[in-house]
Amino acid sequence: MSAINVATDAPRRLGTRRSWGDRAFRGTLYAGGAAVLVIMGLVGVFLLIRAWDALHRAGWSFFTTAAWEPDSGNFGIAAILVGTILIAAVAVSVAVPLALGVALYISEYAPARLRQPLVSVVDLMAAIPSVVFGLWGFFFLQGHVTGLARWLSTTFGWFPPFTVPGSDPHDPLATATVYTSSTFIAGLVVAMMIAPVIASIMREVFMQAPVGEREGALALGSTRWGVIRRVVLPYGKGGIIGGTMLGLGRALGETIAVYMIISPVFAVQWHVLANGGSSVSSLIALRYGESTPFGTSALMGAGLALFLMTLVVNFAASSVVARSRSGASS
């Protein structure tokens, strides 16, 4: 008889031997993820490669030249980039207050039975194709907003972006065409387009504001506005900023609505109310067909610049939202 062999306790190594089916499954998943990574990476890399030709030839003047004549070597995105940013700025500054109003109304003021239908309506509006907004802008807004543009330019003409060169407010017979097809009108159309998106995100966050804190504020005698200012808005700050940034990203990339409204000029156009403007995406839509290979390369460069801009905006938005109290829920 041998002595009882007391084995020393050794920690067991826990592992999983996966079945063949499982391994194949995991392989498929990895392959799918890798495929999406490759496709998406390809878009970025390909843009960079194709744009390289033009970017290399133009050098830094790509960012400072306003004209767009790629075949004679005189091209740059100064004008279109400024145009894009101005359209987006107009859009955001119009859309954000309205969207904030809608979001606050739905989350704070609307009767409970109206709340859900309103949420659906806003979400549905966010899904309306942009070409529909383009139609509305071109056939309705274009004709009806010149009065407002004229009033803005005569009243606030001392503010440089609002001056309209070539207009004479004292001439009663002056034509209204100096006010049409402007950055301002394009911005208004884009504002209508992005407002539901922004409102939807803000509403989502506002509705998550903790009930306890609301009640606390009420118990301390605050009014409804007090609750909004001290509880809802601070809580939803991340959502407000994130929603605005997401709307800004949409506005920067919008093509068709802008293309239908604006009459393209390739000079830096600071006057938002004056006829003519430009944006990167409408430039691409305008010029892709008639371009030489080098011209396409230059368009790729412009597209890349636009993409980088929206990328920065989007990442800033998601990091702001993720770091806020309401969390990365939108």
């Binding site: 826990l14 592992g15 031997r17 995991r26 392959a31 799918g32 993820g33 890798a34 495929a35 999406v36 998406m40 878009v43 390909f46 843009l47 194709r50 309205l98 109003g101 809608v102 003021y109 409970a112 039975r113 859900q116 659906s120 309506v121 979400d123 549905l124 899904a127 309306i128 194709p129 070409v131 529909v132 139609l135 509305w136 309705f140 009806h144 009065g147 009033w151 209508m192 989502e204 903790p210 009014t223 409804r224 506005w225 007090g226 909004i228 093509t255 068709i256 995406s281 691409i284 839509a285 892709y288 396409t296 368009l299 597209g303 993409f307 905006v313 989007n314 990442f315 969390g327 990365a328």
Partner: protein
């Protein structure tokens, strides 16, 4: 050396078929959720104040516009009215209330105004499109003919948008065939195999949601059409649409999959199911409705994309049902081309096509809501909300019987109407870390 081996015998029949969800939820007490207080007390004096200020502002503005200042545009009139209204309303309220209350009332009015303005504007966009397209829509040939034989000068009783409708359906079908498998596999990958690689994929996908649609179109134009020599065709357009839809779908499907309770998955593993079995029989059925919603919302987005199609599909006025050969027009592109023409009939056709496109989006959206509302989780929440309401009603009836004659205290009434039974099939609300609209709890 212990190896947890999952034998194939165990994985098959022993896993219960179908969603195991309701039973699991049954045993868990409903999560308590605080209920918001409804603060909508409207007093007669508030209404009178608003009406009074409104009438006074309108009259004053009319005076200003006709006598004092030469304001002719209706917009200017409205702007003056609004400013006067705010001032007068503040004045009226301040007669009886304190400063804090005046500010509250003013903000209330401003928020209502902004909300009404935006909602009215959006509704107007839709109504405008339908009213301008109303001339084209009643003609049956608008849906059954193409534009091959109809010129710009032809009346609306000739020609239609059949080619565009068919083109849209073909292109979106091809795009779905590409995006659904790829998107679902990627979303499952992101949720099932987390790690550094998954994080990289997620970051790239998130970055790609920022891709402007025109750049996606330009990419396909430069690769497929210029570099590979594929002609402008339906398949090129579908590829461009897929590139737009893929990140949207992966992202929303990922969010939905992350909502699947970990306990369910663990239960499945504990029963000896393999990972594939768990995904196939627990994760996917549980999130089926959410995934369908993700697909439908991505479809709604892809169907309305104009700019990538503009660059890649070419334009034709004739019917073309072969996506691999020749230009193929889709609804957004047809709208865009129609309204370029100065002819009123063409413009009417453009608006008619826009109305059809919007109806298509609306149908997809309603479908998403209906399907999104029938997940096991929401169904369960709804059932319990119903039971809660029923129990409540019984309790209240009993109380009423007991205390007849005595007036029941008003505060014992539930603060919020039990609307929650109808609550969201809201796909956008399906976010992580958010409770699944648990049943209404009466506090």
């Amino acid at each position: 050396m212990a190896v947890v081996e999952v034998t194939p015998e165990l994985t098959g029949a022993d896993v219960p078929r179908g969603p195991v969800l309701p039973d699991v939820l049954e045993t868990r007490p409903a999560p308590r959720r605080e209920v918001r207080r409804q603060l909508s007390g409207v007093r007669v004096s508030d209404l009178l104040n608003v009406c009074g200020a409104g009438v006074a502002a309108f009259a004053l503005a009319a005076l200003v516009c006709t006598v004092l200042a030469p304001v002719t545009s209706p917009l200017g009139f409205v702007a003056i009215t609004v400013c006067l209204f705010l001032a007068l309303y503040a004045l009226l309220v301040s007669l009886t209330e304190s400063g804090v209350s005046v500010r509250d009332k003013l903000v209330t009015v401003v928020v209502h105004g902004a909300a009404f303005t935006l909602l009215a504007g959006l509704v107007f966009v839709v109504v405008f499109t339908f009213s301008r397209g109303a001339a084209a829509l009643p003609h049956l040939n608008f849906f059954t003919q193409d534009m091959a034989l109809a010129g710009p000068l032809d009346p609306l009783s000739d020609g239609g948008i059949r080619h565009a409708i068919v083109g849209t359906l073909i292109q979106i079908s091809i795009a779905l065939v590409i995006t659904i498998p790829l998107g679902l596999v990627t979303a499952v990958f992101l949720s099932e195999l987390p790690g550094r690689f998954a994080r990289l994929v997620r970051t790239v996908v998130e970055a790609m949601t920022a891709l402007p649609s025109i750049v996606a179109g330009l990419f396909v134009y430069a690769t497929l059409i210029l570099a590979l020599g594929i002609p402008k065709s339906g398949i090129a357009a579908a590829t461009a649409i897929s590139i737009m839809m893929l990140p949207i779908m992966v992202r929303s499907a990922d969010v939905v999959l992350r909502l699947v309770p970990g306990t369910l998955k663990e239960a499945s593993y504990a029963l000896g199911a393999s990972q594939f079995r768990t995904v196939w029989q627990v994760v996917l059925p549980t999130s089926r409705s959410g995934l369908t919603t993700a697909v439908i919302l991505a479809t709604a987005r892809g169907i309305g994309e104009t700019s990538p199609v503009l660059l890649t599909s070419g334009f034709t006025a004739a019917m073309n049902s072969d996506p691999t050969d020749g230009p193929m027009v889709s609804l957004p592109l047809a709208i865009f081309q129609f309204v370029k023409s100065p002819e009123p009939t063409m413009v009417a056709r453009g608006f008619g096509a826009a109305a059809v496109l919007m109806l298509l989006v609306l149908a997809l959206f309603v479908l998403a809501r209906v399907i999104g509302g029938s997940s096991p989780l929401t169904k369960d929440a709804r059932r319990r909300a119903r039971e809660q309401t029923r129990a409540d009603r019984r309790q209240r009836a009993a109380r009423r019987r007991a205390g007849r004659g005595r007036r029941p205290a008003r505060s014992s009434e539930p603060a919020v109407a039990t609307l929650d039974g109808l609550l969201p099939p809201d796909p956008l609300a399906a976010e992580p870390g958010r409770p699944h609209h648990p049943p209404q709890e009466q506090s």
